[in-house]
Amino acid sequence: MRDFLLNNVSPFPAKADANGHAAVHIAPIATGFVTHVLGKGNAKADAAHLTKLISDIAPELGATLRSPSPGQWFWVGDCDVSQGRFAEISGQIPGEYAISDQTHGRVRIMISGPQVRDVLAKGAMIDLADGVFVVGASAMTQIGHIGAMITRTDDDCFEIMVLRSFAVSLWHELHQMAAEFNGPHAG
């Protein structure tokens, strides 16, 4: 646990919701937590086992897991977790997992709208088609040259998780990618 309090500051512009009227809506997800969980390479470290484990330890946080790599997960949720609570949780996680709070290091962006996949297709090189990338699916990939994790949260809604230091760059890029749908003449 840290011995000082982190003051989490949003990396996004102050008026981040100014595009609320647009066809493609891009918004930061300001609250919530991102925790990196790493299995120590044994056979027991699988998603089902970990889901049960974290639901028992912290039922109030939900058990949304997204796997960037074999044996690794991002445990993501929408409510804020205090550092004290996180220390409690990490104390209860058994030794076959390592856990690290990454709320300060990875930020989330919500992007939605009927043309959201056309927007993402300009940067992401993975197949986001209905039958392939179903609601709930997630993938660690790249948007342009920026590494990002794309998760489909609904039919026309995706969540993008990116390292904090790339967030503004990606934010700007996403707005550029969406500009043709969000311009003043967009139908």
């Binding site: 960037p68 074999p70 993938a139």
Partner: protein
């Protein structure tokens, strides 16, 4: 170069997500091997025409080291496996 690589963890991914390290070297010589053997192992690389096994790092995805079987003439890629499987084969 074929533009899609089948990562054993992530599925079909564009080659832009990968970093190529180079050929899978022969097994590491024992510590007491003579200088020539070590020089060969560390510095000398084959440049084969045809089938070639290479280390690829999925740096834009799962960040796992993979071993990819590639034809240097046609650029067709064959088997792609996680590099940790070489350990069990005794070839790492």
């Amino acid at each position: 170069m074929s533009s899609l690589v089948k990562c054993p963890h992530c599925g079909l991914r564009p080659r832009e997500e990968f970093t190529i390290r180079g050929e899978v070297a022969t097994p590491r010589p024992h510590a007491g091997a003579d200088e020539g053997t070590w020089f060969d192992h560390v510095y000398l690389r084959d440049n084969p025409r045809g089938q070639h096994r290479e280390y690829w790092h999925h740096s834009g995805g799962c960040r796992r080291w993979l071993v990819l079987d590639r034809n240097t003439v046609t650029h067709e890629t064959g088997d792609v496996v996680d590099a940790s499987t070489l350990k069990t084969e005794g070839q790492a």
